[in-house]
Symmetry: C3
Subunit: 157 residues, 3 copies
């Protein structure tokens, strides 16, 4: 059984690349998580997990890192792409928080508004009191082949 993470960091990145996977890889590097093995999961914040800045943690090179993320790519020049992540923190820190991710061919303001509302909904149907929402996102205008990425990375202190 894998130990439950106790810290998290919100990160974002955007990039062009020669292929869709290279653009995604460069977006990860831009977000400072590019030399790790990301394990995507459905998205709950462990109770009382502490937020840290990505600069405060040292992810092992090639290490297996759990995270929740939004991503979208496009090869249509001039198209807007946006990805956003939002974390809802509960009033009672013995309860877990809710992480939501959303991405679209749309301006970030729209995408971030939607992902924040998704967190509000997630607390409402859990009957859990919401203390605050933290969100982060990124918008990119595609040149030839672009990718955006926004994530809540879970880790250990």
């Amino acid at each position: 059984m894998v130990k439950t993470p106790n810290i998290y960091t919100l990160v974002k990145g955007a990039s062009e690349g020669h292929t869709r996977l290279n653009a995604f890889d460069k977006a990860l590097l831009n977000a400072n998580v590019g030399d790790t093995n990301l394990m995507r999961m459905s998205s709950i914040l462990p109770p009382a997990a502490e937020q840290v800045d990505v600069s405060e943690i040292t992810l092992p090179k090639g290490g297996l890192i759990p995270l929740a993320y939004a991503t979208i790519d496009s090869t249509t020049p001039g198209q807007l792409i946006s990805a956003s992540i939002a974390v809802g923190i509960p009033e009672d820190d013995r309860e877990p928080g809710v992480i939501m991710e959303f991405e679209d061919h749309a301006p970030l303001t729209n995408v971030e508004e939607i992902v924040r509302q998704m967190v509000v909904d997630g607390f409402e149907y859990r009957n859990r009191k919401l203390k605050e929402i933290k969100s982060l996102g990124i918008e990119h205008k595609v040149e030839r082949c672009g990718s955006v990425f926004a994530a809540a990375v879970l880790w250990y202190k």
Copy 2:
């Protein structure tokens, strides 16, 4: 290296939601696995893993939980969506079992029949003797934005 799980539970859920991800999140809550971080994987039952009821295990809030699942969503009012999971148990309990997942815009009877046949096939081309198949599924008629989910959750006792 992550320890190999030794128990499993079959769960299912369905829900409407304001967005596709919220509908999925509520389907997970309906299945009693909604406050965890689900790590999806390709789908083998460890040898001699014991079946338990979901009520018998306490998944850590926000914990990293390995599982195999079927899911499908739809925003077409009136459409049927079904997800089903099947587990084939081998005669020789030193051998692993096979987990199959299937989902479609179709009645559950069709979907569950297919997923059970997939398990039969999986044993046939492994030349492994099949003792029994356990399956579970769920059907939902979409109102506005619906999601169904059926899973084999792997865990530890």
Copy 3:
């Protein structure tokens, strides 16, 4: 926290099956990783990881195995499908390598050329010196329902 893997093996497989998931399952068996639980991740080679042959490692039955993979399936008789994986090894073995995966409805020569170039790119924009590229791939002509799979499996010695 999951321990960072220190060995890797490149594997490939192809198969027909009665369903897409059965074809994929048989392709995994063909690649000698079919009775495990594969956890897909974004794709970095841990520093100084050693290459081994798949026959040299014993993956636990039903065990949770981290890997990066390319896969594609098709139900169009006569169509070519190819999947290829490439690993870039850095000159400085304190640095991580880069794993790229690519798949297409195309001959393997095209697909493998692209995935190798993706590794070259991945080193270039990292400003990291590339020592060599190892790649492996597989091509299959679909009869009724076919799947191909090429992977870099990470593990421990």
